[in-house]
Symmetry: C2
Subunit: 336 residues, 2 copies
Amino acid sequence: MGGDHAPQSVVEGASHSLDRYPLIRFQFYGDQAKLNPLIEKYPNLSGCSEVIHTDVAISSDEKPSVALRQGKNSSMRLAVEAVQQGRAHGVISAGNTGAYMAISKILLKTIPGIERPAIATLIPTEKSACVMLDLGANIQCDVDHLVQFAIMGNIYAKERLDLKSPKVGILNVGSEELKGNAIVQQAAQVLRKIPGVINFHGFVEGDDIMEGTVDVVVTDGFTGNVALKTMEGVAKVISNFLKQSYRRGVISRLGAILSLGALRRLRQRFDPRVHNGAIFIGLGGIAIKSHGGADAVAFANAIGVAAQMISHEFNQQIECDLKEVENLLTDDPAIS
Amino acid sequence: MGGDHAPQSVVEGASHSLDRYPLIRFQFYGDQAKLNPLIEKYPNLSGCSEVIHTDVAISSDEKPSVALRQGKNSSMRLAVEAVQQGRAHGVISAGNTGAYMAISKILLKTIPGIERPAIATLIPTEKSACVMLDLGANIQCDVDHLVQFAIMGNIYAKERLDLKSPKVGILNVGSEELKGNAIVQQAAQVLRKIPGVINFHGFVEGDDIMEGTVDVVVTDGFTGNVALKTMEGVAKVISNFLKQSYRRGVISRLGAILSLGALRRLRQRFDPRVHNGAIFIGLGGIAIKSHGGADAVAFANAIGVAAQMISHEFNQQIECDLKEVENLLTDDPAIS
């Protein structure tokens, strides 16, 4: 029931996602009076869909603490509970991010060895895409958190970008070793010690994110959130400006028509919908956050992320790397 | 002698700037063998230019601490000394930012009441432009620093954007009052108490910067630096992509020709050169930092910023507002 176009975009997105992942079965949590007629509209959903009715939905402006206390029977909480209780392999929501993270943390707990889950997503880059985390779950981060983000982001990049040894960078105000605060410097020191697990590139700067200098950009949730939204803002302003500019005069209009190919390619390449589906990484279950403004195509992509992560036993890989890093660091007297 | 195209861009930029500010007189600090022939090329510089020779120049990768110790006779230090000793009203450099800030802090000191100078610049927005600070001088900031940045940025926006009551925002991960860390929350509380001095809008997010939601974006140097470079990265990647995309096939090429107007307007509107010239705000003298990659046009803009700030008695206005805020906060028993 969450997001700007729910439940239409959710049900239609589920139908789309079956084209690529025909084995998925769906549980739709929410108002059955709205859901049932929608599901009937998409014949491929019949036989693989179940509706679990509830009247309660967490609104987009509800505080996480209130959602936790008062949202016991909400569609969001019931859906996360299904994962907790093993009745579902993963959950996808386009609703209130803070409430979704709070409920997921309480119910799904973290992977052993992970102190804080993070929000990770793919960002389109000049070359292809990179993983960036944290995007806002943790406003303040210490050294251990950043190292854990690097380990999780590394596995995520292997899976989503099909890379053997993703290049990992820490976001900073300069690429030189001495730049930045004590936390990023110490985190970099740790990552340099575990080359068998992490292919650490070093520090990267804001412009490196979209230039694709590294495959994984590690940062605290404050900086990551500001950087992500700043990117969205620039793309939106440039796109608005081109639209207006192309309307000025006959030549510009004709130019716009002949530029459709180039502009369409720009949109396809940097369309945020292509990479819709941020993962709450580090939780003991698969929870995917769709953008609130996602349409059906975008929501289908978020479902695809869940499907991919479930089938690849993603969390087990993170646990495995965490243990290896723990052993490596314990064996190294210079660190412990 | 600093920057990618020095001293050519510096001397040519000085010549350009005389068109708009005919009363400027120049002192060029650096290698006279390079400077003199260049100055002779621009007749309008004769009679208003002096060359102060030195062989020493601080390289772009010199550490600030080393530049401070070993750069006594460097062109950068001598130029800043001229401001310190009253032989110049302001200094402009395209050289090593860290060294330039360190030397300027030592020699020019801060305005009474300002603990830390910041780097401030204009950012192009959808509406016109906004002031953003700090862009990297202060990696960690406390509440007082952010409040002082707001006071300085407010005066800077009044001058540069010709506004009576600039809207001031603090960069955060959400616009709601409860978002973010304790430092941004407490800084916001202080700014809400001084409406006579600061027209405080509240928190803004990354996408608000370029959308022009506020006229002054206040942030710590870590976040500000990442946000600025992220913006530069997105603009560069989109521009590269359009260039390549327009080369594909005859129709795209024709479209590109007819789109020249629209694309030129895009460049003019969001060209970082237009707003070249970041100010080291809060120092006891005018020190302007040009982008290292600045050409003559861009360098002339940086000179223009210095000229404008000098003639408007900018620092006195900041001192005046600082005193007013101090009085307001001392009178308010709820704060002190």
